[in-house]
């Protein structure tokens, strides 16, 4: 098997036994990346850094006490600040920006010996569900079943496409409303968003600070467990980073969920949901039942209000966070005409630098925070958010261990197909995932089957706060039972 197709777990074992070197793994990935320009996933390549890190990893592995991630070649979402390497959140407003610092998550990975292959495309500022808002142009899903080019989903679309196409062993993603789980489902890979506070946000370009959380995007649940463990840490530089120990997530993968209670929320069975999604969900329920879990019907009554609450809270926070892009300290500054002043500079810089979706969300956020509307929109949304969280607390208090839902309302759609649709239609992609961010819970997307067109579909498991290990174990059981092994046929 080509080395770039290995899982993290298999590569770790092969590195430790001396069957393969990190330099060999890294070269295999770099050569795949060179041949995958048509996917448009890697937008800033760092082969020199990669080979240097790989050599250092090989030396470290020889000493015999290397961590699991040592020598593993990764792709990094363009949202993570990487020292001296272009970091622009797929936005023209950060064009040319090279941070003087490293994000905590990537630093944790490099400290463990992981290798950076380069930066991966995404929706601009992580705002989108199709990777079409990237300043680099859309990423193309490696899955292709007819003449159409499909979206890999978003916002972590570059990460999803790169992992699904075996350009890297795994990638980092971030998830504000579903941006890890939806693209993972669209590309047949695994993606986990941990509990809010589990992973440091320091050095991750901020979108909506109360919702943003980074996580791994991988080829298996075991890989997600391994990589998540390395990404997590308590970080004094992020005041919302939780000061609690990080357990060994891989050790939690016992494969035993006998007696666990799985909640099936009736509100997630939407009118007009494709029959294939409903069937996939029913199959998943049967798999967990066969594994000895108890299936319990539950109700999360405020589910319907999650999307509108999210589309108040997230843009409000974005409008504040993105105020820093003013053409003064970094990135793009508009050229000014004679006599134009500083307000002209701000307004022209932001009009030129932000794409249409980012502009729309910043303005919505500005509106809902403005005098006279703050209570009607922003405060009301925060109250509804509290009710959404309470719904989950009540079912967990009933003894529910995990909740099973579909990950997305459809399989991957065609690039450009949503171009003329109302922005709200695109927002509906997040309908199953956004509740998890609003409630701060861990959620994982597991590939479970193909639809009639031959495109991957995923199921989502939602866990109790801080119980990522237990959640990953449920996901592991589902993964084993579903036996999803399909890969996209190489056309690129």
């Amino acid at each position: 098997m080509s080395l770039n197709k290995l899982t993290i777990a298999a590569a770790r074992d092969a590195l430790r036994s001396g069957d393969v070197t990190s330099v060999e793994l890294t070269e295999a990935c770099l050569s795949e990346i060179e041949g995958a320009g048509a996917l448009n996933a890697f937008v800033h390549k760092t082969p020199e850094i990669a080979l240097e890190q790989a050599k250092a990893a090989d030396t470290r592995i020889k000493t015999g006490d290397a961590p699991a991630m040592c020598g593993i070649p990764l792709g990094i979402k363009d949202l993570f600040a990487t020292k001296g390497v272009a970091t622009q959140a797929a936005s023209n407003i950060l064009s040319g920006f090279k941070p003087e610092y490293e994000s905590t998550v990537t630093q944790n990975l490099w400290d463990a010996g992981a290798v950076m292959l380069g930066k991966l495309s995404m929706d601009e500022f992580a705002m989108g569900s199709s990777n079409e808002t990237a300043c680099y142009g859309p990423v193309v899903n490696p899955w292709k079943v007819d003449e159409r080019q499909l979206t890999p989903g978003g916002s972590s679309g570059g990460s999803a496409a790169a992992v699904a196409a075996d350009l890297c062993l795994a990638a980092t993603g971030t998830d504000t409303g579903g941006s890890i789980r939806q693209p993972a489902a669209f590309t047949g890979i695994v993606g986990i968003k941990p509990t809010y506070g589990r992973v440091s946000r320091w050095g991750v370009v901020a979108f909506a600070s109360s919702l943003d959380q980074a996580g791994p995007m991988t080829k298996s649940v075991r890989d997600a467990a391994i990589m998540l463990g390395t990404m997590c840490s308590h970080d004094p530089k992020d005041s919302t980073s939780a000061d609690i120990p990080v357990p060994d997530f891989e050790a939690a993968l016992t494969g035993d969920i006998r007696g666990k209670k799985i909640g099936i929320p009736k509100e997630y069975r939407l009118d007009g949901m494709p029959a294939e999604i409903g069937k996939l969900w029913d199959d998943g329920i049967a798999m967990l039942k066969d594994a000895g879990a108890e299936i319990v019907d539950i109700s999360l009554p405020h589910t319907k209000y999650a999307l509108p609450a999210y589309y108040v809270v997230a843009p409000a926070e974005a409008s504040s966070n993105l105020a820093r892009y003013d053409g003064v300290r970094y990135g793009h500054r508009a050229k000014l005409a004679a006599g134009e002043g500083i307000v002209d500079m701000y307004e022209k810089t932001r009009a030129e630098g932000f794409g249409p979706e980012v502009q729309r969300r910043v303005m919505i956020g500005t509106y809902v925070l403005s005098a006279g509307f703050y209570d009607a929109y922003y405060n009301r949304a925060r109250k509804v958010r509290a009710l959404i969280k309470r719904d989950f607390e009540q079912v967990f208090a009933q003894g529910i261990d995990a909740i099973l839902t579909p990950a997305t309302p459809s399989s991957a759609f065609g690039l450009g197909e949503m171009a003329d649709a109302d922005p709200v239609a695109m927002y509906l992609n997040d309908v199953f995932t956004v509740t998890v961010n609003l409630a701060g819970l861990p959620g994982i997307s597991v590939p479970c089957g193909l639809d009639s067109k031959g495109l991957p579909l995923g199921l989502q498991l939602i866990g109790r706060p801080w119980e990522e290990g237990d959640l990953l174990n449920h996901a592991h059981v589902l993964e084993q039972a579903a036996g999803f092994a399909a890969k996209p046929e190489k056309w690129w």
Partner: protein, 95 residues
């Protein structure tokens, strides 16, 4: 709640994003559609509910108020579009 052209112009200015006059009607329509979607929230009974401030029940950490970082002006200015003599340079602010 629908947004008229004057409100759209005002919001764009508050957000410091220049929107050409001819694009304002379309912007007003888009913002109105999104706000209509949000208005579903009015159906929810939120009587007595506290607005969420933190999703995890944690107390923000405190530390001694002292300088723990800094002293690298060159790094701070490295990415500036216009830096002169150790400062960020901008168009004239005060007449």
């Amino acid at each position: 709640m629908s947004i008229d052209i004057d409100t759209a112009r005002k919001v764009a200015h508050l957000a410091r994003i220049r929107v050409p006059e001819e694009h304002l009607p379309e912007l007003a329509q888009e913002l109105s559609n999104i706000l209509t979607f949000m208005e579903q929230l009015n159906e929810v009974d939120v009587e007595g509910v506290e607005p969420m401030t933190s999703v995890t029940p944690m107390r923000l950490k405190r530390r001694v108020d002292e300088v723990t970082d800094g002293g690298y002006q060159d790094k701070i200015l490295k990415n500036a579009p216009d830096a002169r003599e150790g400062f960020f340079a901008v168009p004239k602010v005060v007449e």
